[in-house]
């Protein structure tokens, strides 16, 4: 089931990256994204170095370059928002397009800014992908807790992720049932009026809401039955080892160097 598989971003491989303390991975990822964002426009050399680092991590983690590249396309369509920069920033004109009454010209400055936004975003996405592909969700949540994200929020997130799988299955069943009963929509023509279709979708949503509400009641009962009295307790399974500290130091040094290069070279 596709929705279900979508939850499993984690790729189980025996690698030193997988083995790192999740806190280190979370912190390095955030630092990485932060530092990429701080790089100036058109720092191509620095961007390239970051990309090499990303690929190196992907290789060490035995994920394969393909996986990371393929997934990283997710955010690209948002580029539509920024493409206007090419035609609006002042600079040396590269080419001119005639669009009916408009004449729009692409500037070099605009192109640089646009490509920089795009590349920075693309690098950031790849880092985030590396994080979830090498860290199991429960470990990710533990890391958040250790990093002082409020415990209640982390616990709520844990419940959410746990029941996401269940509810996505439920939604898939609902959607399939609707599909089975609406023969017309198979040909691309949807049956019924717009309002009617919206009504059906709304009913499904309402039904899912009620089921979820009842489920949360049953879960609450199951928790109380096992002694829950408002304070959520967990075992703390992670300890920072020497190699975790080393990895953190290494990543920090690399990012600082790239930052310095990016600023001096451009």
């Amino acid at each position: 089931m596709m929705l279900h598989n979508a939850l499993d971003r984690y790729h189980d491989r025996p690698s030193s990256i997988h083995d790192l303390d999740p806190r280190v991975k979370v912190v390095v990822t955030l630092l990485g994204i932060f530092s990429v964002l701080l790089l100036p426009d058109g720092a191509w050399g620095a961007y390239f170095l970051v990309w090499c680092a990303v690929l190196a991590v992907a290789l060490v983690a035995r994920l394969g370059v393909g996986l990371v590249l393929r997934r990283s396309l997710v955010a690209l369509p948002f580029a539509l928002v920024a493409i206007t920069l090419v035609f609006t920033l002042p600079g040396r004109t590269l080419f001119t397009l005639q669009l009916g009454a408009w004449e729009i010209s692409a500037s070099d400055a605009g192109l640089v800014r646009f490509s920089s936004v795009l590349v920075r975003s693309w690098l950031s996405v790849q880092m985030a992908i590396l994080l979830v592909a090498t860290t199991r969700i429960p470990d990710l949540l533990h890391a958040l807790r250790h990093l002082h994200v409020p415990a209640l929020l982390v616990t709520i997130l844990a419940f959410m992720v746990r029941y996401l799988a269940v509810l996505l299955d439920e939604v898939t069943r609902l959607l399939r049932a609707r599909q089975a009963r609406s023969a017309a929509s198979a040909q691309g023509k949807a049956g019924g009026s717009l309002l009617w279709r919206a009504r059906v979708a709304g009913n499904m949503t309402g039904q899912l809401f009620l089921r979820s509400l009842e489920r949360s009641d049953r879960i609450y009962n199951a928790m109380v039955a096992r002694g829950f009295r408002g304070q959520y307790v967990t075992i703390n399974p992670h300890r920072m080892r020497r190699r975790d500290w080393m990895a953190l130091g290494l990543a920090f040094a690399a990012l600082t160097m790239i930052q310095w290069l990016g600023r001096t070279l451009s």
Binding site: A75, T155, F159, S216, G230
Partner: protein, 324 residues
Amino acid sequence: MNIALLTRLWEEVVVPRMHIPDGFLSMPVALIFWVITVALLLLAIRKTQQQLGERQIPLMGVMAAFIFAAQMINFPIAGGTSGHLLGGVLAAVMLGPWAGMLVMACVIIVQGLLFQDGGLLVMGANIFNMGLVTAALGSLYHGLAARQSKGVRLVVAGVLAWLSVVAGALFTALQLGFSGTSPFAIVVPAMLGVHMLIGIGEGLITMAALAFVMQVRPDLVAAEAVRTGGGRGWVIVGLVIALFVAVLSPIASADPDGLERVAIDMGFEEVAMTPPYELFPDYVIPFLGETPLSTILAGVIGALVVALVAFAVGRLLRQRAAAA
């Protein structure tokens, strides 16, 4: 990448939503919204705990999963586009604004963290646009309509749901503009235009879902049942946001250069590293001259172009998926 998946991504992630990826907001903008969001989120955690007690954890967790799952429910509108739920107003109406905000924040955190749907550094902004704004507008339902007749309540909820999408889009556009990622003159009207259409789907589903619950479990949506109404503060914030959208949308569409100046005055342009934009040849329709009407029209045309491209790409992907 699998074409069917790409199609789905395109339809579900790109077209109807406004999850900003990392890299599209400048550092100051991203940080400002993180600060606002963190403060409110901490408050929301505390408030929902007071209101819900021990039930908070399972209820908020399952409801966040519900919103995430409900966003998958779509319905065909026309020409291959489909209506979707964002769910912020629905959550705020059903659970109250504090819980609604917390639930939406969880949805956005998980979408960003696990699915790379929306960035990490810009997550504060995303939570603000899709969680906080929607919750504030949703609280207007409790403040204004909770005691009215069923029909009035439904209409108010639908209008608020529509408005929440438009408001979220406006804030997204402003953040992008202040970040220097896209000129105000284009991003504001384009985002507003597209989301005024998308918001209709949101409004319709929200109304229908609420109607369903009113019919099946009237006890849940009775005025007294919503103990978690947020109080006057939220209603005021909701009114301010509604007013902000109502006033700023036309202004921003008519006088984007004004926003540009604000951005410059506030020092954002240094960070954006770009001098004042020289817009599309002044971004006007030639024969109308430089009037507000002209700019608005230009915005609408821009929105149409974006919608057309979205439509064409979606069409193309679907054909290839069908062929595969």
